[in-house]
């Protein structure tokens, strides 16, 4: 093992080189250049630069972590070195781009890239600046390793908040501007006019506020919690209901505060949350890897489409009321879930994944086929799905649809959470852990598996039904394999089997990309990278499944004592 005065040079070198390669990759796929169009802190730092600096910071931190002992001052040296190697490699890239014409092969190796890498200084002079900044950021990364965990996580959070606000400032400003008083008070925090990102002053304020708040909370959370648990049960309940009420009010007024665009984003995220909650039961609880989950989404959407459609082109169009068609859609999706479940009862792991994958494709191809064209529209899909009425309100705007989606999510949340805490939830988890042993414990695998498939399919069908009225038209192409994969990815990122994890995953993988539409071309690249990093660093997800504390919940019954005595005798 290393002692305080030792440092693993090889590791530092290795990680610096790896980081540098990642940096070059990021530059050459064009992310730096594309992201450079946005500022994080107005006039100070762009998003492209942030991306590179962040990579340097992370590289340096990991270099320090793996080559020195925690708290050792050599962390600084290691971080600096790694940062320097990183910037040297970027410098080489800049030189190569400047002196050779790489563009026929590497489209993004442009003069613009060199300008960004050298901070607009041009080649020889800018390089010095590049190396200097690389070393400084590297040193900061190394220094992060020396700090106690609590302070490091506070600083990380602070940086993340500033970066997030910088990214989102345009949307935030739109929201804030709707309240003039708020606008006057907060305007200085953001870049003005054509400038994007937060202002320098705003960044500093946000950073300090986040770090202090986090440190205060971390220092006092236990005290607050223990004091809360000492309160009498009645006041605990009223505090809890007060919080629920507050959340309810926020949820109720959210569309009015957020405006059209953000509500639209929330709606898209909500539909994925609804699907995620369903797939979480199948994959997260029961451990049945289902890659054809989109099929039930399609069945839900198409049922609504066929039953409520008014165009008169489809043979079965009956012009049913949406609220009457909705139970039919959910029932059909559930039925399809059971239908898929039966043949795959004895399959596990990869085999199950492949068969379900095939099922998803079958449904999509059926939707596309000429064979079913008279009933479900073939490749032209179904148009003219009328928006439903709900007590004299026409649900045709994102702001009204929002409430339908929230209601759906709440229902799924309610059902999912109650099933999780029941005999069925335990059986699902037991099956996930070890199917044979679960069966040997007396669990009926057929019923348990089918219930998982059916419940998951029902949620997905509900989501699809809402999608149909959200879009008003549905095409087979809306139900591609990628949706199944997205839902699976959001569960993995959020945390397998974790209900709050579904929300976190959906916000990260659906909400955020929706807000960053201009970078859509890098979406899958970032997805892939995120999944790989997650599996390495945090395989349990961002919000892992909580374990329930049950033993000390209840006073020990008297029987137990008698038995213990007997057992010890």
């Amino acid at each position: 093992m290393l002692n305080n005065a030792q440092m693993n040079w090889q590791k530092t070198l290795q990680l610096g080189l790896i980081g540098g390669l990642v940096g070059i990759l990021i530059a050459l796929v064009g992310m730096v250049e594309t992201f450079d169009k946005r500022d994080i802190i107005a006039g100070v730092i762009t998003m492209g630069q942030t991306l590179l600096l962040l990579t340097v910071l992370i590289t340096a931190y990991f270099a320090a972590r793996s080559s020195t002992r925690p708290g050792s001052p050599l962390s600084l040296l290691s971080g600096t070195l790694a940062g320097l190697i990183f910037s040297l490699m970027l410098g080489l890239l800049a030189l190569a781009v400047e002196n050779f014409n790489l563009r026929p092969v590497l489209v993004n190796a442009s003069p613009q890239l060199v300008r960004i890498l050298t901070f607009d200084e041009g080649l020889p002079g800018g390089l010095v600046q590049l190396f200097l900044i690389g070393a400084v950021i590297g040193a900061i990364g190394g220094a992060l390793h020396m700090l106690p965990d609590r302070i490091r996580s506070a600083i990380t959070l602070g940086l993340a908040v500033v970066a997030f606000l910088g990214l989102m400032q345009e949307i935030l400003q739109v929201t804030i501007r709707s309240v003039p008083a708020l606008d006057d008070g907060l305007a200085w925090m953001f870049g003005r006019g054509t400038e994007k990102g937060v202002s320098a002053a705003g960044a500093i304020v946000f950073f300090i506020v986040t770090v202090t708040a986090n440190l205060l909370w971390m220092g006092n959370s236990q005290r607050v919690q223990s004091r809360f648990s000492k309160l009498p049960a009645r006041s605990q309940r009223s505090v809890r209901w007060f919080l629920y009420g507050l959340i309810f009010l926020i949820v109720l007024y959210l569309p009015a505060i957020l405006g059209l665009y953000l509500t639209e984003v929330i709606n898209a995220t909500g539909l994925m949350i609804l699907m995620g909650l369903g797939l979480n039961i199948v994959v997260g609880f029961a451990g049945l890897l289902d890659l054809g989950y989109v099929a039930f989404y399609a069945i839900g959407a198409y049922t609504i489409g066929v039953l409520t459609n008014l165009s008169g082109e489809l043979t079965w169009a009956v012009g049913m009321n949406f609220w009457l068609a909705l139970p039919v859609a959910i029932a059909l999706a559930t039925f399809a879930g059971i239908l898929l479940g039966i043949p795959v009862l004895s399959m596990r792991g990869d085999y199950l994944a492949i068969v379900t994958l095939g099922f998803g494709e079958i449904i999509r191809i059926l939707a596309l086929s000429d064979f079913l064209k008279p009933t479900i529209g073939g490749s032209q899909g179904i148009v003219n799905i009328p928006p439903p009425m709900f007590i004299q309100t026409l649900i045709n705007k994102p702001q009204t649809l929002y409430y339908v989606i929230v209601a759906g999510c709440l229902l799924a949340l309610f059902i999912g959470q109650r099933l999780r805490d029941s005999r069925l939830g335990r059986s699902w988890k037991a099956m996930r852990e070890d199917e044979d042993v679960a069966q040997a414990m007396g669990i009926n695998l057929v019923a348990t598996k089918l219930l998982a498939f059916a419940t998951g399919a029902a949620f997905s069908g509900l989501s699809g039904a809402i999608l149909a009225i959200k879009l008003g038209t549905i095409y087979p192409h809306s139900f591609a394999l990628l949706i199944s994969i997205n839902v699976l990815a959001l569960i993995i990122v959020g945390g397998m089997g974790s209900i709050p994890g579904v929300f976190v995953g959906a916000l990260l993988l659906v909400g955020l990309p929706e807000l960053l539409r201009e970078f859509a071309e890098y979406r899958l690249l970032i997805y892939g990278a995120l999944l790989v990093v997650m599996m390495q660093v945090r395989p349990e997800g961002f919000w892992p499944e909580a374990t329930h504390k049950r033993e000390l919940h209840q006073a020990t019954p008297d029987v137990v004592q008698a038995d213990t005595l007997q057992a010890e005798a």
């Binding site: 044979d436 414990m441 007396g442 374990t547 033993e551 057992a567």
Partner: protein
């Protein structure tokens, strides 16, 4: 007393290999019986036949007078037979309490709708399962570790938790597959007392597969010896110890008849 479990001419084949060959065993009610034999003698296969993991090719297995061969494992468990495994197979990511509560599942009737609506049946079931889990935790000496994730428990505790989980279904017959594998001599003695106490206090019939002869001889009332899937001896521990065929099976024919040196005898058995 009438036997609780009767196996008649049970045969289980894997392709050309006859793992259990025309095995007939009777297990008396409330007894502790051991099945011993060299590696590959078919002991675990026989357990798997009883618990429904395998269906025997021929023969029959009767539990309290009714046929159980050919039933699914969950159906066998519903009839009050439960088991543990040679290599501990807990639900590793569930807590100790949850593990035991899963074992209590055959006594629960909560359905999908009960769970969603939290009906009275749900509350009664959850309470009963929880109470039983706490009781069993105390019984196997794991009080205080109930909220730990099973995988984080020490080895000996995992063994006992597995037994607690098996006991949760309130079995009439408990099959323990090498309960002391990997334990030190002290823990083995503890396990011996525990097994005897289990039978005395709960009246559960116990069948053991075991390699530790001290445990087998110390605790069992009946010992059945298997070799190459066939029963070669059966009787009281003392009878088995002096049985010529058993010694042959364990140490090889040469060692038994000519009294060869122990190192060579070791070679023939491995």
């Amino acid at each position: 007393m009438a036997p609780i479990l009767v196996a008649n001419n049970v045969t289980k084949q894997f392709g050309g290999l006859i793992a259990v060959n025309k095995l007939s065993v009777e297990i008396p009610e409330q007894s502790i019986s051991s099945i011993i034999g060299p590696n590959g003698a078919g002991k675990t296969t026989f357990f798997n036949c009883i618990t429904g993991f395998y269906t025997p090719e021929s023969g029959e297995i009767l539990f309290r007078g009714s046929r159980i061969d050919g039933l699914r494992p969950d159906q066998v468990t519903q009839m009050r037979i439960s088991r543990t495994y040679q290599n501990i197979r807990l639900f590793t990511n569930l807590t100790a309490i949850e593990n035991i509560m899963v074992g209590y599942d055959p006594h629960l009737k909560t359905g999908w709708l009960d769970a969603v609506l939290r009906t009275r049946r749900y509350h009664e079931d959850e309470e009963a399962a929880h109470r039983e889990a706490i009781r069993l935790l105390h019984f196997v000496g794991l009080a205080g570790s109930g909220d730990q994730i099973a995988r984080n428990l020490p080895y000996g505790a995992q063994r006992r938790l597995e037994i607690a989980r098996a006991l949760a279904s309130k079995p009439g017959l408990l099959l323990l597959d090498e309960p002391t594998a990997g334990m030190n001599p002290h823990e083995t003695v503890e396990m011996m007392h525990f097994i005897r106490n289990l039978r005395d206090s709960l009246g559960t019939t116990i069948m053991l597969i075991e390699h530790d002869m001290r445990l087998v001889m110390g605790v069992s009332e009946q010992v059945t010896v298997l070799d190459f899937g066939e029963k070669i001896a059966e009787g009281l521990p003392a009878e088995i110890q002096s049985n010529q065929r058993v010694i042959e099976a364990y140490l090889g024919r040469g060692a038994a008849t000519e009294g060869m040196s122990s190192s060579q005898a070791g070679n023939t058995t491995t």
